[in-house]
């Protein structure tokens, strides 16, 4: 049976030839002559009434000065992916507004309107970029202590002004001494608010670069998130495919590109040590349970956890999240998934099993954690030495934690769950801490 996509593509080859010919200002008879066929036969091809392939396609492509694949395949894979991404609503609620995009006619769109297509793809890239900025700003607003302090000060001024103004406006019989006092307070607080707001704006106006609001790591992480942390080209082609994947990640500054290159090189190295086919087969044999998979291959535990976080997305399984922390607790790498995240800035909750793993290198742990407002997550953690500092010295360790959200149905598992907090300025569980 013919795949409907393929047959549609075949039918459109003629349309693409016609569009290319007209764009190049070549008469039908001239092109036919150059390709060694009759004008009437070319006319049938151009109206998609004759299938075309092999030598004739190559001859027409040469005459039109394009690659045969451009005539045959239509929109290239990158463009197709961008258009499909643009068609999929980022906000599910937006789906009902107007007719749905005709995703089955992407090729036709790209062939007939290359300018508009490029514009849509460009805008989609820009939207994804802005989403990344927004996410990074949200992260910073929530976890950057300096910014949180500045926001709190501004809102405190707003609170003082609002309460004072409400008293002045609402109390007709206010004692004159109080009235004078509140007027003075209002004036004082308005001045303070002005200074504080100016200070906050100055923080946001820092030029991109040295101390940017959006750091290179945020952009690289957003690009990895957009790719679902899975890179088929590297899975198939190994480290040789890294430059190609890097280029496809989108615009990154020099620092971002360096970081992405390092992450992709690690990905390629991991993929070579544990190829996708082997991982999928062994995960299947382990009944999809990472703990069973680790038990059979302890020396490669951290590698297995990293590779599980890079599995291709499938509708029948939830994605894994991943966090890698260094010996000082700093976040080296993370993959957010289903609400799981560890803040990049600020203090993180030390009750996450990844930190406990640091104290027990080589001993994997399978634990369920409960996060307020987000529910239960199953975690698999292990720490391993990553650098030896010398004889008699403890090696430098790094801990890896794989995370998967538990469904409501698994709530019974939560009985012994470790309660973790959103972060760690204070914690009722550790009252002795300063």
């Amino acid at each position: 049976m013919t795949d409907p996509d393929t047959s549609r593509r075949d039918r459109l080859t003629g349309t693409r030839i016609r569009d290319r010919r007209m764009a190049a200002g070549i008469k039908q008879a001239d092109l036919a002559a150059r390709a060694g066929i009759s004008a009437s036969y070319l006319n049938l091809i151009e109206h998609n009434r004759r299938r075309i392939g092999g030598k004739l396609l190559i001859a027409l492509a040469r005459a039109l000065d394009v690659e045969p694949s451009v005539l045959n395949d239509g929109a290239d894979a990158t463009l197709r992916a961008a258009l499909n991404a643009a068609a999929g609503p980022s906000d599910p609620g937006a789906a009902s507004a107007g007719p749905a995009p005709e995703t089955d006619r992407v090729d036709e769109l790209a062939t007939r309107f290359p300018g508009w297509t490029a514009l849509i793809a460009g805008q989609q890239a820009r939207i994804e970029d802005l989403h990344a900025d927004l996410e990074a700003l949200r992260d910073r607003l929530s976890h950057d202590p300096k910014l949180a302090d500045a926001m709190h000060e501004i809102l405190s001024s707003a609170a003082a002004i609002r309460s004072t103004a409400e008293i002045l406006a609402g109390e007709a019989e206010l004692d004159p001494a109080w009235r004078t006092r509140f007027h003075r307070n209002l004036h004082e607080e308005a001045q303070r608010l002005s200074d504080r707001a100016t200070g906050l704006v100055a923080q946001f106006e820092t030029p991109l670069g040295s101390d940017s609001v959006i750091r290179p790591v945020d952009r690289v992480e957003a690009a990895f998130d957009a790719a679902g942390h899975h890179f088929p080209a590297i899975e198939a082609g190994g480290a040789a495919a890294v430059p190609q994947v890097l280029a496809a990640l989108g615009p990154l500054d020099a620092a971002g590109a360096d970081l992405a290159a390092i992450w992709l090189a690690t990905y390629a190295k991991d993929a070579a040590r544990l190829p996708l086919a082997e991982l999928e087969a062994r995960l299947g044999a382990a009944g999809g349970d990472p703990a069973a998979l680790l038990a059979g291959d302890m020396p490669r535990a951290a590698l297995i956890l990293r590779r599980l976080a890079c599995l291709p997305s499938r509708s029948d399984r939830a994605p894994f999240g991943l966090a890698i922390v260094d010996g000082a607790g700093g976040l080296v790498f993370r993959r957010r998934a289903d609400g799981f995240t560890l803040p990049r800035l600020g203090a993180r909750c030390p009750r996450w099993p990844v930190y406990r793993a640091l104290t027990r290198p080589g001993q994997p742990e399978d634990a369920v954690v409960s996060v307020p407002g987000l529910g239960l997550f199953r975690t698999w953690s292990v720490a391993e030495p990553v650098a030896h500092l010398g004889f008699g010295l403890a090696p430098m360790a790094q801990a890896t934690m794989l995370v998967r959200k538990l469904a409501e149905a698994d709530a019974a598992t939560g009985a012994g769950a470790i309660e973790v907090g959103p972060d760690c300025p204070v914690c009722r569980a550790a009252p002795g801490l300063p």
């Binding site: 809102l155 405190s156 609170a159 509140f182 907090g421």
Partner: protein, 129 residues
Amino acid sequence: MGGRILLVEDEANIVEALGFILSRDGWEVRGHGNGNSALDEIERLKPDIVVLDVMLPGRSGLDILRDLRGAPDTAELPVLMLTAKGQSRDRDLAMSLGADAFLTKPFSNAELVATVRDLSARIGASGGR
């Protein structure tokens, strides 16, 4: 008999405005602006309700709340936390540490009075009115 409220808040103009509003509602109001000595002040004054700002010089309001909940005498002391809009993290933390109510800055005077009344009714304190 009027209840006593301690406002632990370092912004003097907020203390003055909230103090005025709550006094009008029948409460005896005291203000305290330093996080380090807030616990001593609470022990000395024995308030019926504490209104506690998250961000204080010296010590954070969340730290103070944690210590209040850890001490037998103050484990049940009603605490109204003042957090800033957008800082849902502070709210989550305050909630997990056992705050009784929240107000998000900036709030209206009516919201403050309603929240304090609600808190006082819930705990059966002898608040004003």
